[in-house]
């Protein structure tokens, strides 16, 4: 394709938008190194907020909760979503309107309504049967529910991009059902499995609203802790937590960039 050329004004606008996008993050990072407790004036470089972070049990507990929640929910969502994606693919010739509606429901439902529905339901079940007391378990259940469709769609997309004859080829080459899964299906969709896990993990780790409504007193995650800290009054260690989270995202972005460029190079001639 011929290279298009944009007017230089576009470049100026581009950098302004980047400034707009990164300024709030930069402010968080900058003030995380502030020597004094102020969000308005920077009074010198200090690591005191990071130091205080690591002695703050509530933060450490919240981080632990976030990790447990994100890990366990994304593993469950990955398993369920992989089967779902595979089922959608193998039966894509059928009319499955009801199933499509079910899959899109968690995606389109407003977070607030999602969280409140689950919260009221769990509270009700708990008062009636004594099960599903709001806490880590209920959060995991809700997180799996909203991660599942994203995983399934990723897996489905990967299957659609595979040559359908590969399934026949694996059967033709003496692979029974279990060997087919182990030596063909799982290796062939591995990129989507990895992407699906990380997507689910990120969605879970980032989520605030649904966690907020389905959590119990002991299961606050990092976003819930930050939310509470902001509501209580601005505290500079939020900047420190925020900076660490931003750093994690930047690392993830870098990894995904390397991964994208590499797989582009690798599959470049295929597509």
């Amino acid at each position: 394709m011929r290279q298009r050329r944009a007017h230089p004004a576009f470049a100026v606008f581009w950098w302004l938008v980047l400034l707009f996008l990164y300024l709030p993050l930069a402010v968080v990072v900058l003030f995380s190194f502030n020597a004094i407790n102020s969000a308005a004036t920077f009074a010198g470089f200090s690591l005191r907020w990071y130091v205080s972070l690591f002695s703050n049990d509530a933060v450490i507990h919240a981080f632990y909760n976030s990790m447990v929640l994100a890990l366990s929910s994304s593993v469950i969502a990955l398993v369920l979503g992989t089967f779902l994606g595979y089922g959608l693919y193998r039966h894509r010739g059928r009319r499955m309107g009801w199933l499509i509606v079910l899959i899109y429901l968690p995606i389109v439902m407003p977070d607030v309504v999602f969280g409140i529905s689950d919260m009221t339901f769990f509270v009700r079940l708990n008062s009636m049967f004594g099960i599903l007391k709001p806490g880590m378990l209920t959060m995991i259940i809700s997180h799996v529910t909203f991660e599942l469709p994203f995983v399934a769609l990723l897996i489905y997309a990967r299957f659609v991009n595979l040559d359908a004859a590969l399934f026949d080829a694996s059967k033709d080459l003496y692979a029974g059902p279990i060997k087919r899964a182990l030596y063909f299906v799982i290796p062939a969709i591995k990129p989507a499995l990895v992407a699906g896990f990380f997507l689910a993990f990120t969605l879970s780790f980032d989520d605030f609203v649904i966690s907020f409504f389905t959590s119990g007193p002991e299961s606050a995650t990092l976003p819930i802790y930050i939310w509470g800290a902001i509501r209580r009054g601005i505290s500079p260690d939020i900047n420190a937590i925020g900076s660490l989270m931003i750093a994690a995202v930047l690392v993830a972005a870098l990894i995904s960039l390397i991964f994208t460029l590499k797989s582009r190079k690798r599959e470049g001639n295929l597509n």
């Binding site: 011929r2 290279q3 298009r4 050329r5 576009f10 606008f13 581009w14 938008v17 980047l18 996008l21 300024l23 709030p24 993050l25 402010v27 968080v28 969000a39 308005a40 369920l80 089967f83 779902l84 089922g87 039966h91 079910l102 899109y104 429901l105 968690p106 995606i107 389109v108 407003p110 607030v112 309504v113 409140i116 529905s117 689950d118 919260m119 009221t120 339901f121 009700r124 799996v144 529910t145 599942l148 359908a164 026949d168 059967k171 780790f205 980032d206 605030f208 609203v209 930050i226 939310w227 902001i230 601005i234 939020i238 989270m245 931003i246 930047l250 972005a253 995904s256 994208t260 460029l261």
Partner: protein, 302 residues
């Protein structure tokens, strides 16, 4: 030819469908459909002493939602609804205005650079939205350079700053949803037939007319997909108005949430949830319809 191949009879194909999709379908039904139905049914119950729903059946919650309270009708809820709509539409329009040139600019870059540029646009949205809102709180609070500049220009009072305010909420919404507009628009631009634009520049001369004659029709599918991805979640936004609006710029999601947290009037909140669900479905339906009428429907994902 058949994909459900091999000596699999019709019965075993159904069984296959069941064991692959069944667990997920059951999970979503049990943990989202049933809870939603419970929430919907709750709207038709009476508010009990402790904010819990009780029998008998009533439509009090809907009356309350419509603004009828102990003191007669008040327009508060109506204002909240209109404010939600106004914030959604205004911030979506702004998002479109910003996203168009950005998407176009990315599509003119070298292919290897495009990946980096797209990532640069998306990365901020990967950080937690509470942190992002907190960043804006720090930027817009009274006494910060931006607020000082704004008050010097006469756009804000020096004591109040730019936050909390309606302005901050809309800024936060644009900030949140910009990537979701840029991505589908970019993929539309990537496929754009530039010769048409050149022909349009030839025939109509003015860039604005060329935009409406050549670019808009071709990027319409991307625009519609972007609208679905921006408008629907913007309308139900909770975090941004809660943190950046400071109670004065409440949206419908905050009104609903309040009934389950501090206010403790579950039936009333449930009625509000129904309104949100209805608005969401209506929005999707309208955009899909629009998409089909304009012939770009297939690419609107949802």
């Amino acid at each position: 030819m058949s994909n459900i191949s091999s000596p699999a009879s019709r019965g075993s194909a159904v069984l296959h469908l069941l064991w692959t999709t069944g667990p997920s379908a059951a999970w979503i039904t049990l943990f989202l459909v049933l809870p939603s139905l419970y929430l919907v049914s709750m709207a038709f119950l009476t508010n009990g002493t402790y904010g819990q729903p009780e029998m008998p059946l009533s439509v009090d919650s809907f009356r309350q939602l419509a603004g009828y309270g102990f003191l007669g009708w008040s327009p508060g809820n109506l204002y909240t609804l209109l404010r939600s709509l106004y914030y959604t539409l205004f911030s979506t329009a702004l998002t479109v205005l910003v996203a168009y040139p950005i998407a176009y600019y990315i599509s003119t870059a070298r292919p290897s650079l495009r990946v980096v540029m797209l990532l640069a646009i998306v990365v901020p949205s990967w950080t937690n939205q509470v942190i992002r809102a907190f960043g804006w709180m720090n930027l817009l609070a009274p006494g910060t350079p931006i607020s000082t500049l704004a008050s010097w220009l006469g756009l804000a009072s020096p004591e109040l700053g730019l936050y909390p305010s309606s302005f901050a909420v809309m800024l936060g919404l644009v900030y949140n949803f910009l990537p979701f507009m840029v991505l589908p628009l970019y993929s539309a631009f990537e496929k754009l037939d530039m010769s048409q634009l050149e022909a349009a520049r030839d025939l109509y001369a003015s860039p604005l007319r060329a935009f409406f004659a050549a670019i808009l029709p071709q990027t319409l599918p991307g625009l519609l997909a972007g609208l679905v991805l921006v408008m629907i979640p913007a309308f139900g936004m909770y975090v941004v108005p809660e943190l950046l609006g400071g109670g004065r710029a409440m949206m419908i999601g905050n009104l609903v949430a309040t009934q389950f947290a501090d206010g403790s009037n579950w039936p009333y909140g449930a009625a509000g949830s129904i309104l949100m669900l209805a608005a969401t479905l209506l929005g999707i339906w309208l955009l899909r319809r629009l998409g089909r009428r304009l012939g770009g429907g297939e690419e609107v994902v949802i």
